[in-house]
Assembly symmetry: C2
Homo-oligomer: 411 residues x 2
């Protein structure tokens, strides 16, 4: 008899963005005239930059001729892209890697979800709260999180590290010892950051406890202030305890084109129950070569063009455009007396809902009264209750209009 993975049956309801989609569709059906502005899901709106488009066309032409056609890519990605990543994203920070420490993938969602596979089933997992749901759900599916308590909105075996205005969104070290720690900075959903000193505390904790940090740096390109680390490997000793995830989605508009990469340093160590030390780069390499067949050649060539001189210039203009949206959102909401966080080193603005509104009540008010869609903070975890996320990825016109509409509301 084919038994199913019963951990899947413990997952609560449906995916946050599916819930939002249903609510918006129901509203649209009843109000077909409503001119809805979506600042909810973190999808980009500015197209691929010319340097990327040109590179994809060129690679496509190569794929049309026998002498330049490419079959299977190396599962880990092409060296032409890996070398650009190392030079541009790491050597520029004084960090060295060899090519076989970088793994090109179809997305940071896949990598952050799949990485837990190379870890033991009974590690204790910690996440900041609120959090990107993929870290939690992928570990729940693997059976690491115990049971879901729907009253608390929490998994019984998951360690939540609350990040709220009260602690300045700086997670405290856990009281209970943990083995796998997911950190995302600049943070999704709060848009906040850690300084080098604050991040160093976590690297030191991981070193002291032989834990591993799964560091999601998908929003790195949005950092504008000094002293905010662009990579966890800027912290001494991080190579022994940290995996880093990066993506071309949010800096180079690859959400629909799909390319990302993950760094698994050779120094990174895991452990067997009998106390042997295991090289985790080898495990991830085995996972990659057994369960993945590489990213499309034409997509890897597109990603390579992100690192060209024109590519860099073009994407920096796109990022500046979104950050101007973030400023408009931040200042607009602040001017109406709301407490606003993020949006300085991040395309996400995180706001405290006004007195008397929880996350979903605020969502409903914005949708029903001014036709603006955002994301209820509680959807990212219990500490997101009474917060709300808006994204800077809309058009300028929509962003301005949405803020004017929100400003017209009475609370």
């Amino acid at each position: 008899m084919a038994y199913v993975n019963e951990n899947y049956l413990k997952l609560p309801g449906s995916y946050l963005f599916a819930d939002i989609g249903r609510k918006v569709n129901a509203f649209k059906k009843d109000n077909p005239e409503a001119d809805i502005i979506r600042l909810g899901i973190g999808d980009v709106t500015i197209p691929l930059v010319p340097a990327v488009i040109e590179a994809i066309h060129k690679a496509t032409d190569e794929m049309s001729k026998p002498e330049t056609f490419r079959g299977y890519s190396p599962e880990q990605g092409y060296d032409f892209l890996i070398e650009k990543i190392i030079t541009h994203d790491y050597n520029s920070l004084g960090i060295e890697f060899s090519n076989d420490e970088i793994f090109i993938s179809d997305g940071a969602k896949s990598d952050t979800a799949n990485m837990q596979e190379i870890f033991g089933a009974d590690n204790i997992v910690a996440v900041t709260d609120p959090v990107y749901p993929v870290y939690v759900d992928s570990n729940a599916m693997a059976g690491r999180l115990g049971e879901y308590d729907s009253n608390e909105g929490k998994w019984t075996n998951l360690v939540y590290l609350p990040c709220t205005a009260e602690n300045g969104f700086i997670p405290s070290l856990p009281e209970k010892k943990v083995d796998m720690i997911y950190l995302c900075y600049p943070n999704n959903p709060t848009g906040t950051t850690l300084t080098k000193d604050q991040l160093k505390k976590w690297v030191d904790y991981a070193r002291d406890n032989k834990a591993v940090i799964l560091f999601d740096g998908a929003y790195e390109a949005y950092i504008t202030q000094p002293d905010i680390p662009h990579s966890i490997y800027e912290i001494d000793g991080a190579k022994e305890v940290a995996i880093e995830f990066r993506s071309f989605s949010k800096n180079a508009a690859f959400t629909g084109t799909r390319c990302a990469y993950t760094v698994v340093p050779k120094e990174l160590k895991g452990y067997t129950k009998s106390g042997d030390v295991v090289d985790m780069n080898k495990l991830w390499n085995r996972r990659t070569s057994t369960k993945f067949n590489g990213v499309s050649y034409i997509v890897q060539k597109g990603a390579e063009a992100v690192y060209s001189e024109e590519g860099q210039k073009q994407i920096s203009e796109v990022i500046a455009f979104y950050m101007e949206n973030a400023r408009i959102i931040r200042e607009g909401l602040t001017s109406m007396g709301l407490k606003v966080f993020g949006g300085v080193n991040s395309p996400y603005v995180w706001l405290k809902t006004p007195e008397g509104y929880d996350s979903w009540q605020f969502f409903d008010k914005l949708l029903k009264e001014v036709y603006v869609v955002g994301t209820p903070g509680v959807g990212f975890g219990p500490s997101g209750e009474r917060y709300f996320r808006l994204t800077a990825f809309g058009s300028r016109e929509n962003t301005k209009e949405a803020i004017e509409r929100i400003k017209s509301l009475k609370f």
Copy 2:
């Protein structure tokens, strides 16, 4: 302390094709002049067809303009591609599916490796032997296979279904009851097929035992003879017990472009330990939406073009070209007295090694004496010992030259 998934540590050595690569590279280093012909790995050599190239260029241009730019794809794929698949690949056989039973992915390797995740950890797995290593390794990594016995070349908890010349490469139903059965037809590596009656026995077995068949149809396009099923769903009742994997790699040269799809019918049932029936389509949908972010838009548009009138005409010419290579290999080897299988409904030719040669000895002889690289049968499982695989994916010139060289050998 971050424990590792110790199942990974049980995996024998490295991946078959990595071993071959190392041997070939060592030989090349010592013999830089040797003109090596590779008929080993199943990678294609004829480029993407014009209809696909044109569609990718067009989609790339769409990605350059705000009004036609696409961000995140539905995780399950775009309906424009799903509808073509249903009409062309299933309705043409009299089989109906709704759009949400088809899942577009980046490759059949990923899907065949990932699908086991939605199954329970203690299901008994059966594979034909020899077999595509991904089915075995992905289950070993999940801890379903027990221990690897390196003397036997077998996993202690895996049920092997031998397929050799002695049984005409037709697997017998297992003596021990099994829960998950991997079948690949036309078969990789043997190139052999099952008739509808032979496949029906497996569907009936699965229905009687509430098992699930994971049916890999990646080579379906190479079927030339009647009475060979193109889909497992041609067998009555298969929707309740079978998942089907298909790929654009081998019919449309997508090995380096990456697109495939998987069918998980809504009728397909799994079971909980307490006896509840579970809809497996929902589990795979949850896995897909949590751990994957869809296939690149430009790649999905390229795959859609495979189904256009020109696309169909163009890929059928490519397939005919490879099948002529298969004929050349088959007849050439037969004429020198070797026993040869496959190559009629498949791009793979499977030969019995001559008396006195095991798989690796034959590999070494071909590499060292005539510079031809094939794949040792034993690399696909213990019943592959004393067999050898050659692929029809080379150029005409290389294929002819390789066969002439092999014919010059004395055994």
